[in-house]
């Protein structure tokens, strides 16, 4: 039925028109004003006219797809007004992707502009989602998205070195571009990038990287390859790293890549007495799919919960961890322990000011269906997402 409808010429023309109107709206009005307009005009009719703007959720629309290398594609996404401007290095979680539109994956933003964000995805032939994105996803598709989050962001250090491998280039690429875009810092800071790819053909953003290095004197880029033809003798990448950046101990290192690669680099850093306080490592802790959750049935058996609890507040875009020792506290108290302010009133489950909805995970105590009262509900699973 829906397919039939989408083939009707009128609907196609409408979709075409919207694809022009949406970027224009977000650029000229800005997300804040668009939110004001859309939230006050949303109803059953407007939701049908344009479900991208008149919606309660954060959505992104694919507006361009670029082939980066043979097995890497960049998807330029236009987020709707519920999105807020990300910080370079952060990631988003897409929650309605894959063949059944129910998979969720985190992607670091590789490019950030005023109105768009990009994700760069490497094809993993054995995976479920990346082949779908590479072969099925097309311009015009809309996905549900989280707001941008993550703490792997630049924090004003003067000398920085990004060490990355494979698709781990994405946060480094967006952070470097962001640093160079800030005019006051673009020449002041020293930026290093050590990037290990498989082959020159496989190097994501290779053309951009060459341009960056030639255009900016303070940028030093060193490329390293893991799968060159056997007749070329290459030094170990650790040797290459230490030769290229002898003053690594004076720099702040951002590390992102596959686990084995990360371990090798950390081992090297330890061996040269690098101060590990100057190291940021990107580790995705979020993509826990719903069937992997350690859920405990409701009731008051909260003492059964083992380990820390990761809590995400979607609307506030805050992510925090309740240490295992705090799991007998209410969600509100536990959040306050972490310095996080949640809306609340009576603190005893009477007034309903703190009421919010559970997106995934389990709580025990005061709740009605998926609506929970953080002031009198306790964590009952290790992974909780609240609206």
């Amino acid at each position: 039925m829906l397919n039939k409808l989408s083939n009707q010429p009128l609907i196609r023309v409408w979709a075409q028109l919207l694809s022009v109107v949406h970027p224009w709206l977000i650029k000229t009005l800005g997300r804040d004003r668009l939110e004001y307009f859309a939230s006050n005009t949303v109803n059953e009719l407007t939701q049908r006219i344009d479900p991208f703007i008149w919606t309660y959720g954060c959505k992104v629309k694919v507006i361009a797809i670029r082939q980066e290398t043979a097995d890497t594609k960049t998807f330029v996404l236009l987020p709707n007004q519920h999105f807020s401007t990300p910080i370079a290095g952060q990631h988003i979680e897409l929650t309605s992707i894959g063949p059944d539109h129910d998979a969720n994956r985190c992607y670091t933003l590789s490019e950030i502009t005023v109105d768009t964000v990009s994700i760069t995805v490497k094809l993993n032939p054995e995976g479920e989602v990346s082949p779908w994105l590479h072969h099925q996803a097309e311009v015009g598709m809309v996905f549900d998205s989280s707001l941008a989050r993550g703490k792997f962001v630049h924090r004003d250090q003067d000398k920085v070195l990004f060490i990355c491998a494979g698709s781990g280039i994405t946060p480094a690429f967006s952070m470097i571009n962001n640093l160079l875009a800030q005019s006051d810092k673009s020449s002041a800071s020293a930026i290093g990038l050590f990037y290990r790819a498989q082959t020159p053909d496989n190097t994501i953003f290779s053309k951009h990287l060459v341009k960056l290095e030639s255009a900016h004197k303070n940028v030093k880029i060193e490329l390293s390859y893991s799968r060159l033809p056997v007749d070329i003798v290459t030094p170990s990448f650790i040797d290459q790293l230490s030769a290229a950046y002898p003053d690594i101990k004076q720099q702040h290192v951002y590390l992102c890549g596959p686990e084995l690669f990360r371990n090798d680099v950390i081992q090297y850093l330890e061996s040269v007495d690098f101060d590990l306080n100057n190291l940021d490592v990107e580790q995705f802790t979020l993509p826990v799919s719903s069937n992997q959750q350690v859920g405990i049935d409701g009731g008051n058996n909260r003492s059964n919960l083992k380990g820390d609890v990761s809590v995400t507040l979607k609307a506030q875009n805050i992510n925090f961890v309740i240490p295992a020792s705090d799991c007998n506290k209410t969600l509100l108290e536990a959040a306050e322990e972490q310095g996080i302010v949640m809306e609340h009133g009576c603190r005893s489950g009477m007034c309903g000011s703190c009421k919010t909805n559970l997106v995934s995970g389990e709580v025990s105590g005061n709740q009605i269906g998926r609506s929970i009262y953080p002031c009198s509900a306790y964590p009952a699973s290790n992974y909780i997402v609240l609206e």
């Binding site: 004001y36 009133g345 000011s353």
Partner: protein, 393 residues
Amino acid sequence: MNQPASNPSGTVDDYEEIHQAFEQIKQKYRADLGEKDIRYIKKIRRNSRIFEVIGRSLIHILPGPFALVGVPFLFLHRNLEAIEIGHNVLHGQYDSFDEIPQFHAKNFRWKAPVDETSWRQEHNAVHHVHTNVYEKDPDLNHGFLRVNSQVPHTKLHYFQVPIYLFLFYPFMLYNFNAQNLGVVDKFRKKYFPEGNKGYAVVDEALRLSKAEGQKRHKRAVRRVWAKEYVFFPLLALLSGFGAIKVFLANLLVDVINSYWIALTIQATHFTEPLQPEDAIKNKGKWYVSQLDSSVNFKGNRWQSILWGHLNYQVEHHLFPDIPAHRYPDIAVDVQAVCKQYNLPYKCNDSWRAAIKKFVGAMWTYSFKNPAVPIKTAFLDKAAYIDKEAANAK
């Protein structure tokens, strides 16, 4: 247990029993939430839309004073949206239903000139928690109102009845923002000899930043003005009908709606007795303090919808986030508990009687030392168990 629980000799155990009794009612109605509530709120929204179309068309088309025929319809629309839908939805009464995201407190936008976020912080998290608590409940004596003898008297209070009835109530909805923005606090600080003594002031820590609050307030007002006083008058002008007529009719609806809401909410809170600050620390005590500071007035189901079920203020204050259309049923259970524990259950015979009492209190306390010890007189007349309703079920 025959002791009235509002009696200070009530022991902790009495309060625990009372707490459990009300908790049981709460759980009973929570368990029953479902399809019925979704149907109800959707039906109200549908009717509100129908009234809007009828009202706006009549006002648009009918010439001159005949356009007044459309005013009641448009009023029905604005009123349903403001209280039966808006107020109740913003309490999170429909949050637990996935099917209707448009009626979730955080998604909902009022068709009233009030910013939802600041209002929810003031109303849900302060007024409903500290009802009738001296210097804590901002709604007890909003603006410069003086309705109990603890509040210091100033010359302005001699004029509070006409000022409220003729100046403030016609624009009541617009006053909510002033309170949340702290405008009134500043006024009292500047012009009252004892400043904000006796009044609840905005708790800065709980509120939005000043700039954010002001931005939201402006937007909340502008969305109403843009629709009522720009878009529809302009539409009339462009289609060859009278723009001024539409403007005036919409203004009239705005004023009637504000007045209606003002009289509804003012008539359903007792201004005395003041409640202890620590009531919220004990759930049983808190339930009793809510009973003690709220008052119902009688009306049938249809009327109750137009009052946003706020004529069941007692039930609303006991269970603020249970869908309001259930209050008439809940009232029967609440009355039974009140009877059993000899708790106050206050109910006026009619809206008229309730308004009369409230305006009476306003008049009395406009004088520095009221001659009548109003406290007892005020309570004895109104405090009785609504036996008729209890027997009817």
